[in-house]
């Protein structure tokens, strides 16, 4: 048994944030029904460079474990199918701009009337209220407006964003947190509710240390390359053949690091003797340390530091990260078979439940793969289904 078995989720989403939310619910066993327009399907089905046998990799990545139905929402019979689905569901997730769902009668207020237990989650660029509610938003824009770009990158370089789309991903996770919290409330009261989050808010919620620094010092934090805001040494350091990371910010780890470097004298040096002093003299400390680390390879230092109990690691590229023995031992790379693409790989579930573990065991649906199955569940007769098909309401 998976933990969310028996929870039905209607997934009227596209692109990344909201599909990532429902993908996580599907990994944990929820019955996620993805609704797509007939013909081309959701936009990420369009082929870019990442594809296999004509199947879009980005779509397959974000939609594993879901069932798929293709429904034309421009026809009233199509909207009716989605309303019927919403009546059977626990959760409804959508990421249209505010206004679009209202025109279709698929907004929270309308669906709540047919299913008061429904938890309706909306993930948008800026949230359902406020002056920018109607604007479109992307991860990049949210990273820029949340302050995340302002604290990422080289100290004097051009702007850099988080290489991973963290506003999208975090909004998806915060959405899942809101949905599951609302499910707990529903257990006690029988009432559904609206769960409303956005890329902007998700990215801002990740600026915990940076906001705190600003409110405490009155100064807006700046990018620091790979270094930590509040402790040192905690950064990438240069070995003879490239960089590796070391986190030795507290006094105990710093002492162990100095011993491993053969420079216990740093502990007596007034510039480095306390956490505050090290932070104030971070550049000098880095220069002193790199004089030593530059003499040996990354591999040699990682071996020394593991023995010394100092947290350190390589800077892996994705080929290395996805082949790392620990990543494999933790089940982070999963093999799947997709009906069209054949053998594919997917990322595993990062949180392990001992009794009712989640699992990645089904690839993303083909467009309309489960249309007939789902219409049968909704008790559409064969002749009704044939009529819907011939009118192009479903595919």
């Amino acid at each position: 048994m998976k933990p969310l078995e028996g929870i039905r989720v209607i997934d009227l989403t596209q692109a990344m944030a909201a599909p990532f939310c429902t993908m996580n619910l599907a990994d944990m066993g929820a019955d996620v029904i993805k609704i797509e327009p007939p013909g081309e399907g959701e936009p990420t089905r369009q082929l870019g460079a990442a594809q296999k046998n004509g199947h879009s990799a980005t779509f397959m990545t974000m939609n594993r474990g879901k069932r798929g139905i293709a429904v034309d929402l421009k026809q009233p019979e199509g909207v009716e199918i989605v309303r019927k689905l919403a009546a059977t569901a626990d959760v409804f997730v959508q990421n249209y701009r505010p206004g679009v769902v209202k025109r279709l009668g698929l907004d929270f207020e309308s669906l709540q009337k047919i299913n008061p237990r429904l938890i309706y989650c909306q993930i948008s660029g800026f949230g359902n209220t406020g002056p920018y509610a109607s604007r479109g938003g992307y991860d990049l824009i949210a990273q820029g407006m949340s302050g995340v770009i302002s604290v990422t990158g080289d100290e004097d370089g051009p702007p850099a964003k988080s290489g991973i789309p963290l506003a999208d991903l975090a909004a998806g996770l915060f959405g899942a947190y809101g949905i599951l919290s609302a499910l707990e409330y529903r257990e006690r009261t029988g009432e559904g509710q609206l769960v409303d989050t956005s890329l902007l808010e998700a990215a801002m919620a990740l600026t915990v240390w940076e906001s705190s620094e600003y409110w405490t010092t009155g100064k807006a934090p700046k990018p620091k390359g790979s270094a930590h805001r509040n402790s040192a040494p905690y950064q990438a350091l240069k070995a003879s053949d490239g960089y590796f990371t070391v986190g030795a910010g507290n006094d105990k780890l710093f002492a162990a690091f100095c011993a491993a470097l053969g420079r216990k004298d740093f502990l007596e040096d007034a510039r480095f003797a306390s956490r505050a002093a090290r932070l104030a003299h971070r550049r000098e400390l880095e220069a002193e340390i790199e004089k030593i680390t530059g003499r040996e390879t990354r591999a040699a230092w990682l071996a020394h530091l593991e023995q010394a109990g100092v947290p350190a690691g390589p800077i892996n590229n994705y080929a290395e990260a996805l082949a790392d023995p620990h990543a494999l031992a933790r089940g982070m790379v999963v093999d799947l078979v997709h009906p069209g693409a054949g053998d594919i790989k997917a990322l595993g579930v990062p949180v392990k439940l001992s009794e009712t573990p989640g699992a990645v065991d089904r690839a993303a649906p083909l467009l309309g793969e489960h249309t007939a199955q789902i219409l049968n569940e909704l008790c559409y007769s064969e002749s009704e289904q044939a009529a819907l098909l011939s009118k192009g309401v479903v595919q």
Partner: protein, 405 residues
Amino acid sequence: MVSQKNPPPGETPGALAGLRVIDQTQVMAGPFCSMLLADMGAEVIKVEPLEGETMRQERVIAPGVSASFLALNRNKRSLALDLKQPGGVEVLKKLAASADVLVENYRPGVAGRLGVDYETLKKINPRLIYCSISGFGQTGPYASRGGFDLIAQGMSGIMSATGSEGGPPVKVGVPITDLGAGLFAVFGILCALRARRTTGRGQFVDTSLFEAGLALSAWEATEYWYTGQIPKRLGTAHRLNAPYQAFKASDGYFTVGAANNKLWALFAEMLGLGELVTDPRFNTVGGRMQNRLQLEKLLEAATSKQSRAHWLERCEQAGVPAGPIYSVAEAHADPQAQARGMTLEYEYPGVGWVKALGNPVKLSKTPARLRKVPPRLGEDSDAILRELGYGADEVKALRAKKAVA
């Protein structure tokens, strides 16, 4: 009662009211996880060593008050307990017997040495959901290693995809694997709560910074597996689309996401570069990706002639998604962030008004709210011990033995 500026109206209960959480965590990933539960109304009891968790020493803004601690520990109660004393361990066991959830982020093995690991506590409370957050998880070859956000960012591949090509290594400026692990832990705990309704039993929930970093690399893993190319560092640009990046205006940078043919055409025409729309180098996403640096040059020749404010206004008129690159200060001052309650302001006794981040998820019936300011060390020790059935004399004896403070 918390004295707070602009609290959400009403006095609704939290979605997670009635849930009792023991929070044996420190620094970031664990406290972030338990704070998210507390924001939704769970009763979170933070169990700290007698000297307080390590973050209480950082960014001290008044005697005994740390801004870093405040940032992640609101809505929690504090119990100061020495787990190296039998009396302290006994208190923790009694707490665990009464709890729904326990969250800890020790290095694997430490909880076992203290006698408060899952195997021990599930015998006392089979319904307990026990969540461990660590650097690498409880199993696998690196299980016993200590892990920090930096190390996890490096090993998961995130650093290899962040920053500008050719520059020194850069991490994501916010500790994304700490925060991601906290979020996945919340997700796992809430899933385990659902399962408990069916099975009647708790379980062990195990996640890590490293795995969170990998799970957040969905796009990059996809690029690598399907194209065979190793994702590179692209500054602010997108892996699969263009133009979608920061552009230089006369007074700094702004972001533009013109990530499909329609938006691209709008953006090019807005810049007076309509001829580029049909240019064979740029008339498809693939072409724009392939010729991205050329495209950037052509577009920046136009954008650099006017200010950020000018272009942002023009983009809004044209319907092209765009935005400023705010400092954290500007982010909090933005009217949308304000309207969405992303900055809380409350009175901290003995300190005055302090600010905090709002919860990013808005629930219509049971909104997250500030019910309790972050606790002073051991602020709730007596009350919690009395609730567990310890008499006044027993509490006094525990204090005398320094098992509790």
